[in-house]
């Protein structure tokens, strides 16, 4: 083979190599995010919400989300004083009263929250016929049933805070203000 042929071969090889290099960057693997360039400013050195971090003391992967230090409370947060038991339930029913007045704005806020957090199980009218509710071993009782129709507002608040029976606690999703606004709307459904 002469020199020119060699040159052509090397040119063709280079060409195919380049083609492979430039076209293989398409994402075939959904588990890989792709190529990063200088990731030092992409990644946060400080902790972000929902991120894990490596513990300095033992090298274990730790959860970024932490409970407050024991004995401290967040600014503006009022701890709920009644316990998650029968006595607390009764006391909540007797002593707790809604700080929000029943007006259109608060009711609308309650309705919106109801549509997000309650409707799945309790149904849009609180009859216990929500899409998830009917899949549970027992549907949640209707708000208009004899057992719940006259439930005092404090007990409703207590139930949203701690849950009852199959219902879980919604305290991590709803602030106390939001819970009280929800109580207003639940009462509206009770009295329908």
């Amino acid at each position: 083979m002469d020199k020119k042929a060699k040159k052509i071969i090397s040119f063709l090889t280079l060409l195919s190599c380049l083609t492979i290099v430039f076209t293989s960057c398409e994402k075939h693997n959904p588990n890989s995010p792709g190529v990063e360039f200088m990731p030092d400013m992409y990644r946060s050195p400080s902790l972000e919400g929902n991120m894990g971090y490596t513990s300095i003391s033992n090298g274990n992967l730790m959860q970024g989300n932490k409970s407050p230090v024991v004995g401290t409370i967040a600014r503006g947060f009022m701890p709920y004083i009644y316990g998650n038991d029968t006595a607390g339930y009764g006391m909540a029913g007797r002593n707790l009263h809604n700080p929000f007045e029943k007006n259109e704005i608060n009711l609308k806020a309650g309705e919106e929250l109801f549509g997000i957090f309650c409707v799945e199980c309790h149904g849009s009218a609180g009859l216990g016929d929500g899409l998830v509710g009917i899949k549970l071993p027992g549907a949640p009782p209707s708000y208009t049933s004899a057992a719940l129709k006259n439930l005092p507002e404090g007990k409703i608040f207590h139930t949203i805070t701690y849950g009852k029976g199959l219902m879980g606690s919604h305290a991590s999703q709803l602030t106390q203000e939001e819970r009280w606004k929800l109580v207003l709307y639940v009462q509206k459904l009770q009295n329908q």
């Binding site: 083979m1 002469d2 020119k4 042929a5 052509i8 060409l15 195919s16 380049l18 083609t19 430039f22 076209t23 960057c25 994402k27 075939h28 959904p30 588990n31 995010p33 792709g34 190529v35 990063e36 360039f37 400013m41 992409y42 990644r43 946060s44 050195p45 972000e48 919400g49 929902n50 894990g52 992967l61 959860q63 029968t86 006595a87 549509g115 997000i116 957090f117 799945e120 199980c121 899409l131 998830v132 899949k135 549970l136 071993p137 027992g138 549907a139 949640p140 009782p141 004899a146 057992a147 849950g163 029976g165 199959l166 219902m167 879980g168 606690s169 991590s172 999703q173 709803l174 602030t175």
Partner: protein
């Protein structure tokens, strides 16, 4: 035959008597079906008819354990009164349940309670559930993309080889003819010689080909460079085969039920396991993966489904974050959802149709700015805090819609600080 006038007349009294009788009969006995319905409405939230505990104990064999049917009747109707009266068995049960009380059912009629007790004693046989074969949770799409450029190169080289072979054949045929006519043989020049010869004859074509190939390579290289740091299509496998399609689509659970931080915080939030347990306390079997995947939630939450209590150590679930925004840009969900009233679907795509979450938006600066240039801020108009500002802007941009960029939404410092 006209029978219309021949029908025997039923006396109205008989009709009334019949109706009254059947009505009375209906009242006095509650059918087994109605009992099941009653049980589902009132009892099934806490009790199962089998042995397993939900929040109250399973009711299998409870009639044999209780002192008498009469005791059961009293307990169902008003258990609190029975405890107050100092009944020893009632006190014992109350002590066993650690002070968790049962709802009183004073509104249930005696017949209804009797039918419920009958149902507890003879529970209907479990309907044989049609076991649906657990399908693979995530149907993995085959992504064997064939490179069109590769095909082109293959075809071209194949054609070159064919041309060379054909020319070789014609060359040897010519030599045979030359031999017959007594002429000297032509020298064989080989494949590369042929190509060289062809290139010599077609200099312009060659130049055009080289131009196209180089141009193609450069442009594909340019686009490949643009892909660096853009993670569109990222769809990582999660530790639990959670399906957005089942939860948000089929069951219509609001996005905010789980991502409840979206109106309150910079991040929408990956739900903590207690939020999973809000529903999965009661639902332990899914339509796609059966009990296998939901058991992982129980493991993380430390929940014992047999005893229906949290008695094991908790273990965090290591979800894989899908949308990784670079640290040098600030983004707040609260601002976009609460004030901007943006829908989740605008940036995250239709998750009601996705199984595992996938990044559908590029999250590049161009993408941000394009949206900021054409989107209004609905929450600004009826918010008194922005009233004076909005008035000024309306004066400044008369007749134009006031989009995000007009109120400084594309200033560098808004996002990069």
């Amino acid at each position: 035959m006209n029978t219309r006038y021949n029908t025997p007349q039923i006396k109205p009294f008989a009709i009334i008597a019949f109706l009254l009788l059947s009505f009375l009969l209906n009242l006095s006995s509650v059918s087994a079906q109605d009992a099941e319905k009653l049980f589902k409405q009132n009892c099934a939230v806490c009790h199962s008819l089998g042995k397993n505990k939900i929040t109250g104990p399973g009711l299998e064999g409870i009639a044999a354990r209780a002192p008498s049917d009469d005791w059961l009747r009293k307990w169902i109707k008003n258990n609190k009164e029975l405890i107050k009266s100092g009944d020893p068995y009632a006190l014992k049960i109350f002590a066993e349940s650690n002070g968790a009380d049962m709802t009183v059912f004073t509104d249930l009629k005696d017949e209804e309670i009797n039918s419920l007790i009958a149902l507890i004693k003879n529970p209907p046989k479990e309907k044989v559930a049609v076991a649906s074969a657990p399908e693979a949770g995530v149907a993995k799409e085959e992504q064997n993309g064939v490179n069109p450029l590769g095909i082109l190169i293959g075809i071209i080289s194949f054609l070159i080889i064919i041309i060379a072979v054909l020319r070789g054949v014609s060359h040897s045929l010519k030599n045979i003819q030359n031999e017959k006519e007594g002429l000297p043989n032509e020298e064989a020049i080989g494949v590369w010689g042929e190509i060289k010869l062809w290139m010599k004859d077609h200099k312009r074509t060659l130049a055009v080909i080289i131009l196209f190939v180089t141009g193609g390579l450069l442009s594909s290289g340019w686009y490949a460079l643009k892909e660096i740091g853009v993670y569109t299509g990222y769809q990582p496998t999660q530790p639990i085969a959670f399906s957005h399609k089942i939860h948000a689509g089929e069951n219509a659970i609001n996005c905010q039920y789980c991502h409840s931080g979206v109106e309150k915080s910079k991040i929408a939030g990956i739900p903590s396991v207690n939020i999973c347990m809000n529903c999965h306390k009661g639902i332990s079997k899914g339509p796609n993966t059966g009990t296998a995947e939901i058991a992982k939630i129980y493991e993380a939450a430390g929940w014992d489904p047999e005893k229906a209590e949290y008695n094991k150590p908790q273990k965090p679930i290591e979800w894989v974050k899908v949308h990784n925004l670079q640290d040098f840009v600030y983004f707040s969900h609260q601002q976009h959802v609460k004030v901007g009233k943006q829908e989740c679907v605008t940036c995250h795509g239709d998750l009601k149709e996705m199984t595992t979450a996938k990044q559908v938006s590029p999250l590049t600066m161009v993408w941000c700015i394009e949206c900021h240039r054409k989107t209004e801020v609905p929450g600004m108009k009826d918010n008194k805090y922005y009233e004076s500002l909005h008035k000024k802007l309306a004066e400044k941009y008369k007749g134009q819609t006031i989009t995000v960029d007009k109120m400084g939404g594309i200033e560098c410092g808004k996002c990069h600080y």
